[in-house]
Amino acid sequence: MSEMLVFRAADRSIGVPALNVHRIIDDADILPVPAMPPFYMGVLYHRGELFDVIHAGAVLYSSPPVRYTGSRRIILMKWDGHRIALAPDSVEGLVPFARGEDVQLVDPGNIRERALELQDGFI
C-alpha cells in the first residue's frame, strides 16, 4: 500500500503507513488506568482485542497530557503482532506517500518503542 494516514498532533502533521492502520473509531470507550505515564490514556477493548491508548502528541513530542473527553477519533494500529491505539488531535485522511512533503512519516514500531522508553523513565 502506498498511502499513509495523516493526522495532527502537537501542531504537526504526522503520517503512519496506511497498511498498519486497522481501524479508526469514534466515541471510543476508554478505561483510564491509574499509575500510568501522562501519555497513557487508558485501555480500549474493541471486538475482543485490548488496545493501549496513547496520546500521539505526548508520546512523540512530549506535548502536555490531555484529559480524555470521550469524543475524539482513535486510530487502531496493528503490525507484527503488536497493537496500539493512537489518540491524535484530529485525523486528516489518506495521502499518497509521494504527496506528503510536509508530513512527518512515523513507523508504528518507533511510536511503541518511544512509549516504552517513556514508561521506563516513569516507573
Binding site: 491509574p34 497530557p65 484529559r67 480524555y68 516504552l116
Partner: protein
C-alpha cells in the same frame, strides 16, 4: 540406523494404499455386503499398520489397528456396515492419511482433537453394531431410514458425532462481535430507556440478559483441560526417551483444570524445552538408576493447580537434579561473583541463575547435568505472560519447575469498585471484607494516609466511603503459611460479579500493578489488580519508591505530593509495621 530411506518408501506405499482404499470404500458404499471388498480393505489397512509399527509410528499403527478391527468385523459378518459406518471409515482413513504424512507427530491442537475424536470413534467395539436379519441378505442392501441413515440400533451411535471442529479465530471473532453488541447496548442513554413503553423496556432487558449469557458461553469455548494439553507431549516424551536410550513414564495430575487455550499454547514451546532437557540431562539411564536404588524407569510429571487467581503448572522429573556446583562455578568464574557470597545464596536464587541469558550461552553448558540450554527463553516466555518461574531441585531426587500464571481468559469472580474516577477490580477470592468507613476515622480521608490511592497516586477528593480488605495467603513473600492484610479504599462499590479476564497488554504489565482487564457482564471494563504485586509494593514502599504523577480522569494534570503510609498487618493483628514513603513526581 538411517530410517529416512524406509520412511520414503512407507510414504509412497501408503499413498498408493490410500488411493486404493478410497476406491474400495466407494465400492462397499454401493455393496456393503461385499465380503471380498472388506477382505481387501482389511489387508491394505493391515499393511499400513505393519509398516508404521516397523518405523516406530505408534499413533499410526494404533489407529490402523482400530480401523482394521472394524474391517474384520464387517468381513466376518459380526456387524453390518451402514452408510454412516462407511462414512466413518472414510473419515478414519483421512485422519490416518494426515497422520502418515506427518510421520505420526501431532503438533497442533486442532489435529490432536480430530485424531482424538476419530480414535474414540473406533474404540467402540464393532460388536456393538447391531445387524438385522434383512441386512444379512447381501442382495437386500442396507436397511435405512427415510433419510438414508441406518435405522435405530444399527450403524453408529449418534453420540460419536456430537462434536464439531471450530477454528479458534471464529470463536475470537464471535467473542469480539458479541462484546461490541454488549457495548452498544450499554451506550443507550438511560433517559431513553425511561421513555420506552414498559413492554419495550422489558424486551430490552430480556435481550440484554440473553446477550450476556451468550457472551459468557462463548468465553467457555476457549477453555480446554490441562489433561488434553498435557497429552500432546506424550509423543515427544516417547521420542526423546527413545533417542536417549532411556525408559520414561509421564504422569499428569490436575488434568481436569481448565485454562485458556491461548495461554496454554504459549506454554507449549517452553514445556517442550523443559521436557527435552529433562530427558536428556535429568533422567539417568536405567543402569544408573538401578545403581542409585531407583526404579529403572524415569518419571516425568506435570501437575496443574489453581489457587485464587493463579494457575500453577509444575513440570518435573525424579532424575539426578541440577548440579549446584556447576552453577556456583559459573557465577564465580564467568560472572566474577564472590564465592562466599554465592555459596551463601538462597537455593531458589542460585537455581534461578540458570535462567539468566549469560548462563545459557556458557561454553560449559554441555558439561552441566542440570538445565542450562535455553532456560532464559523459558523464563522470558513466562514473564511475558505475566507469570513467574520457580525452580526446585534436590541432588539425586529430581527437579521441579513451577510456572505460576495469572489466570488469563476465564470468568473470574471479582469485587469491582471505583476510586478517584477509576474502575478497579480485585478477585473475590482475596477479599476479606468490605465495610463503610467511619466518617470520623482518620484513614482514607482527604490528605490523610491511604493505601491503594497512595500506591496508585489517585486523587481521592473528599475521601473514600468504603474499605475493601484483601488478604494475601501463601508464599507470596517467600514465607509459606503467613498471611497479610491490606486495606484498599473505595469511593463506591460497583458489585461482586463475574468478569471476563483479558490479559493485560504490554504497558499495563510493565506498570506492575495489574493482572489484566476485566470485561463485566454489561460490557464495561475495569482494571484488575495484581494482589501479589500490591503486597510486594506495600512491603517495599519504605524503600522510598517514588510514584509518578498521574492524571486523574476528572481533572487537569495535577501533581500531588503527600506522605503515604501503608499498613501491613498479620491476621491476628498482633504485629503491625508501618511503611512510609513519599509519593509524587
Amino acid at each position: 540406523m538411517d530410517l529416512s530411506k524406509y520412511e520414503k518408501i512407507f510414504l509412497q506405499e501408503s499413498g498408493k494404499y490410500f488411493r486404493e482404499l478410497d476406491q474400495l470404500l466407494m465400492e462397499v458404499e454401493k455393496d456393503p455386503g461385499g465380503l471380498e471388498l472388506w477382505e481387501e480393505i482389511h489387508g491394505k489397512v493391515h499393511s499400513i499398520k505393519g509398516m508404521a509399527a516397523a518405523l516406530g509410528y505408534p499413533s499410526v499403527s494404533d489407529l490402523s489397528h482400530r480401523i482394521e478391527a472394524w474391517c474384520k468385523a464387517f468381513q466376518q459378518g459380526g456387524a453390518f456396515p451402514g452408510k454412516e459406518a462407511v462414512q466413518c471409515l472414510f473419515d478414519g482413513l483421512d485422519a490416518l492419511k494426515g497422520l502418515v504424512a506427518a510421520k505420526g507427530v501431532v503438533e497442533d491442537w486442532g489435529t490432536h482433537e480430530r485424531l482424538r475424536t476419530v480414535s474414540e470413534l473406533f474404540s467402540s467395539p464393532p460388536e456393538t453394531l447391531k445387524v438385522s436379519e434383512q441386512a444379512r441378505d447381501p442382495g437386500s442392501g442396507p436397511v435405512s431410514s427415510g433419510n438414508g441413515l441406518p435405522v435405530s440400533g444399527r450403524g453408529l451411535s449418534t453420540a460419536a458425532m456430537d462434536q464439531v471442529r471450530v477454528k479458534y479465530g471464529i470463536i475470537e471473532e464471535l467473542l469480539g462481535l458479541s462484546q461490541e453488541i454488549l457495548s452498544l447496548e450499554r451506550l443507550l442513554p438511560s433517559i431513553s430507556r425511561k421513555r420506552l413503553p414498559p413492554t419495550t423496556r422489558s424486551w430490552v432487558v430480556h435481550y440484554s440478559s440473553m446477550l450476556k449469557v451468550f457472551y459468557h458461553k462463548l468465553i467457555s469455548l476457549r477453555l480446554v483441560s490441562v489433561g488434553d494439553f498435557a497429552a500432546l507431549f506424550s509423543r515427544l516424551i516417547r521420542d526423546q526417551a527413545k533417542k536417549h536410550g532411556k525408559a520414561v513414564k509421564f504422569d499428569i495430575a490436575g488434568e481436569e483444570i481448565q485454562a485458556d487455550i491461548a495461554l496454554l499454547e504459549r506454554l507449549r514451546e517452553p514445556l517442550m524445552h523443559l521436557i527435552r532437557n529433562s530427558v536428556a540431562h535429568g533422567i539417568e539411564t536405567a543402569e544408573e538408576r538401578l545403581l542409585a536404588g531407583k526404579n529403572p524407569t524415569g518419571g516425568l510429571f506435570m501437575e496443574a493447580a489453581r489457587h485464587r487467581d493463579r494457575l500453577f503448572i509444575t513440570f518435573g522429573d525424579d532424575g539426578r537434579g541440577i548440579d549446584r556446583a556447576r552453577i556456583v562455578s559459573h557465577l564465580c568464574e564467568v560472572r566474577g561473583l564472590d564465592r562466599r557470597a554465592v555459596e551463601a545464596m538462597p537455593e531458589r536464587d542460585l537455581l534461578a541463575a540458570i535462567c539468566e541469558p549469560d548462563y545459557s550461552t556458557s561454553t560449559e553448558v554441555s558439561d552441566i547435568s542440570g538445565r542450562g540450554i535455553g532456560m532464559n527463553v523459558v523464563a522470558r516466555t513466562v514473564k511475558s505472560l505475566g507469570g513467574g518461574l520457580t525452580i526446585e531441585s534436590k541432588p539425586g531426587a529430581g527437579t521441579r519447575f513451577t510456572i505460576q500464571l495469572p489466570v488469563t481468559l476465564s470468568i473470574l469472580s471479582a469485587v469491582t469498585f471505583r476510586l478517584g474516577g477509576y474502575t478497579v477490580s480485585v478477585p473475590t477470592a482475596f477479599v476479606d471484607g468490605i465495610g463503610k468507613r467511619n466518617p470520623g476515622s482518620q484513614d482514607g480521608g482527604a490528605g490523610s494516609s491511604g493505601t491503594l490511592s497512595a500506591m496508585l497516586n489517585v486523587d481521592r477528593g473528599e475521601g473514600p466511603l468504603y474499605r475493601v480488605k484483601i488478604r494475601e495467603a501463601g508464599s507470596g513473600d517467600g514465607t509459606p503459611g503467613e498471611s497479610r492484610v491490606l486495606v484498599l479504599e473505595a469511593d463506591s462499590i460497583v458489585g461482586n460479579e463475574s468478569v471476563v479476564v483479558v490479559p493485560a497488554g504490554e504497558f499495563l504489565s510493565r506498570a506492575g500493578f495489574y493482572s489484566g482487564v476485566g470485561v463485566m457482564e454489561d460490557g464495561s471494563l475495569s482494571v484488575i489488580l495484581d494482589v501479589d504485586a500490591l503486597f510486594r509494593k506495600a512491603r517495599s514502599s519504605n524503600g522510598g519508591a517514588k510514584l509518578p504523577a498521574a492524571i486523574s480522569p476528572g481533572g487537569a494534570g495535577e501533581v500531588r505530593r503527600e506522605s503515604a503510609s501503608t499498613e501491613v498487618a498479620d491476621p491476628e493483628g498482633t504485629q503491625r509495621s508501618h511503611v512510609q514513603g513519599e509519593t509524587g513526581g
